[in-house]
Amino acid sequence: MSAETAKSSTESDISGLDYEETELKLGLPGSSRIAGSELERKRGFSETVDLKLGGSGGCNLDYLTAESSDTRSSAAVKLPANKAQVVGWPPVRSFRKNALKSCTYVKVAVDGAPYLRKVDLEMYGGYQQLLNALKEMFSCFTIRNSPNNNERRLVDPLNGTEYVPTYEDKDGDWMLVGDVPWKMFVASCKRLRLMKSSEAVNLAPRAAQIG
């Protein structure tokens, strides 16, 4: 898979930009688009009705090769900007949507990895279990305990890069995982991010800030 087109959400998160704003929009005809052929051709019905569309597929396909590779359309339909407003899309039955909507999952992002995972925080009894689960999920990691405080870090043994588990709380602040009592964490955590320790310098734990 092309690395260029696999957008990493984590880079955009650092600067605080919304993911949607920074991604390339492989978007709708008519909206601002990526580079492609500027040829805009609406093929009217009358132009095509002359084609010999005979019974067993004996149609004249020559005109296909004559066209440029990226035909844009001036389609009459436009999608609203907010995807959630498109009724009935994606085509998932309400029964299924209702069955899964009570899920208490949070997304887990790892710096440098293109894909997110999801975890159900309510499945774990405490921080150690959560860390073990993260370690299993991103199976390259091992856990290293930081000597000076309660911080735990995950290490990628291939290159020694340390990752610090952080989370975004209800107020939108990014905090170090482990700061608050477990239950409070579960209630306030909106998403998790395994941040490279070099990036995490701004997130000093509260304890260290005192005095």
Binding site: E47, K83, P90, V92, L116, M137
Partner: protein, 580 residues
């Protein structure tokens, strides 16, 4: 056989022909018999035992029963398929009452009723319970309008009930103890599917019912049945073939684990497993003993991570059908492709359909399964990215596909590597898969793909199109080709009047056409209705009020549902539906 119809018929008494015809079961074949001559039409009509009504408004109950007075089994479908995705107004129609009332009056011998996407009221259920002495099978799928009080009536009155199948219905729960209405003497149940019931119920009653119905083969519970209850229930039904569990999670309790494990070990021949709502890894090993025998596994509600899903699925070496969520990821599908060589049907559902973030399930997973599973016939795949190359590979790996439904979550997504439309990919699918019967398209598509579809998709009976095409030509290609097309549903495509009107005759060869958010004008609808008296052209528009007469020809209709019918226009339309 054959020869001059009149003479041939007179050769044997009717009973002989009836006996001969009884060996012919397929509807298409029975229909063929009935057009040989008047005599056979009459005889066949009298001895037909089951009918399938694909559109409840295509024929009136009276007409159907006049022709087939001795039927014992009826299957009827109501609302258009897109009703599943909230595109059809809730009061559009599809009421079962007219049918149930007619059947109650003329067919006391009725044994099996199957309704899909219909409005079934408690009155209907009551009528069923009262009218049919030997009633055996009630199957309601994606229906609404009834409550557990209606079910209570069925339970207490249908003494010979064999099958109660409630699949994905919207059921009001006003009688939570309805199960206790099955009398103690009632033991005939062979199949019970209550997965769509929302609330709790009396589990002791359920357990007693299961334990006295020794012929029970199918049992599908709802998510409220806790794991310990499941263990006790399963002990009483080791003969089950098809099981749907309830909630598959509990605190870590060794004695529960053991009890559950021994229930599963007790199964003599479990073939299908589903449910597993909110499954937790800790209890999955209890299932291991049945994995080898499973031919169908539905994990589409199991919110497990890829590793756990894979661990379970790779034990099921004889699996033919697998339903799972995209939590399985490409790596999981890779493991499935190497362990489960007999897979015929794969469905991958999105865990979080509105999530725009990339997930680890891509086109790679589909390609790997198509490469590793030579028996693959049916695919439903939700993903976020696709390439033409992947589609071409799937087409070459799986030329025997009969059903291919791809849903790329973001509309109009092109090939992410080349930025090209996915025309070539889908064209490869229809050219290679000559037995394709059902096709759903997605992604960025131009009119070109429809040209291929029209030309090559000769067996496709049902086609679903969304956010695709450039012009009327697209629709024209479909309607002027696609020899076997019966159901066409289109949404948000720039298809307009010309293609529709030029292919009016085609519409009578099809069951139905749905078009919403396209470019069809009211004038075209009027013209079509005028030209084709045996079509009902229903205009559905929730913005409009009152009569259509004053509306100009050039205004675009929001939604359009056209279907062939011999029953004329229906009389139960709500305010937002007009038959033009």
């Amino acid at each position: 056989m054959g020869g001059g119809g009149w003479a041939a018929e007179a050769m044997f008494p009717d009973e002989v022909w009836e006996y001969v015809f009884s060996f012919v079961e397929a509807d298409a074949d029975r229909n063929a018999i009935s057009v040989v001559c008047r005599g056979w039409y009459r005889i066949e009509g009298r001895c037909r035992r089951r009918i399938f009504v694909g559109n409840c408004y295509a024929v009136s109950p009276a007409m159907a029963l006049r022709r087939f007075p001795e039927i014992k089994a009826v299957t009827i479908k109501g609302k258009p398929h897109f009703a599943d995705f909230n595109l059809v107004p809730s009061d559009w129609g599809g009421g079962a009452a007219a049918w149930v009332e007619a059947l109650a009056e003329t067919c006391p011998q009725m044994e099996e009723l199957r309704f899909k996407r219909m409005v079934v009221t408690d009155d209907c259920l009551e009528l069923i319970g009262r009218s049919f002495r030997n009633f055996k099978v009630l199957s309601l799928a994606s229906c609404e309008g009834f409550s557990t009080a209606g079910l209570a009536f069925v339970a207490s009155n249908c003494r010979n009930l064999r099958e109660l199948d409630l699949q994905e219905n919207d059921i009001e729960d006003n009688c939570s103890h309805w199960l206790s209405h099955f009398p103690e003497s009632f033991i005939s149940l062979m199949s019970l599917n209550i997965a769509s019931l929302d609330g709790e119920m009396n589990y002791s009653i359920l357990e007693r019912l299961v334990s006295r119905c020794s012929k029970l083969k199918t049992l599908k519970l709802n998510h409220s049945v806790p794991l310990d209850r499941l263990a006790s229930i399963l002990c009483k039904a080791p003969q089950l073939i098809d099981l749907g569990t309830g909630r598959f999670s509990a605190d870590s309790r060794p004695e529960l684990f053991e009890k559950l494990e021994s229930s599963f070990t007790g199964f003599t021949g479990l073939k299908c497993l589903s449910g597993l709502y909110d499954a937790v890894p800790a209890y999955l090993p209890t299932i291991y003993s049945v994995c080898d025998g499973l031919s169908s596994l539905n994990l589409s509600y199991a919110t497990l991570q890829s590793a756990e899903l894979t661990k379970l699925i790779t034990r099921c070496k004889n699996l033919k059908r697998l339903w799972v969520m995209d939590l399985i990821e490409d790596v999981g599908l890779e493991a499935v492709a190497s362990s489960c060589k007999h897979i015929e049907e794969l469905r991958v559902f999105p865990f979080d359909p509105y999530d725009a973030e990339p997930v680890s399930l891509t086109e790679r997973g589909l390609v790997i399964v198509s490469a590793g599973c030579p028996m693959l016939r049916s695919v439903l795949y939700f993903c976020r990215q696709m390439t033409n190359a992947a589609l071409i590979t799937v087409a070459m790996n799986s030329p025997s596909l009969t059903c291919f439904r791809l849903c790329i979550l973001e509309p109009q997504t092109p090939d992410y590597l080349t930025q090209q439309p996915l025309d070539i990919g889908f064209s490869a699918i229809v050219q290679s898969c000559k037995d394709l019967r059902r096709l759903s398209l997605s992604g960025r598509l131009t009119d070109r793909v429809f040209q291929s579809i029209g030309a090559y998709a000769n067996q496709v009976k049902m086609l679903s199109v969304a956010f695709a095409g450039d012009s009327d030509a697209g629709l024209h290609y479909i309607l002027s080709g696609c020899r076997s097309l019966k159901k066409l549903e289109i949404r948000d495509c720039p298809f307009g009047d010309k293609a529709l009107l030029a292919n009016a005759a085609k519409l009578e060869t099809m069951r139905s056409l749905w078009m919403s958010s396209c470019s069809i004008s009211l004038g075209a609808c009027r013209l079509l209705a005028q030209k084709m008296p045996r079509l009902n052209v229903e205009v559905i528009d929730e913005r409009w009020e009152g009569s259509l007469e004053s509306r100009p020809n050039d205004c675009l209709v929001e939604k359009l549902y056209i279907y062939r019918t011999v029953a004329g226009r229906r009389s139960d339309m709500p305010a937002c539906v007009w038959t033009v």
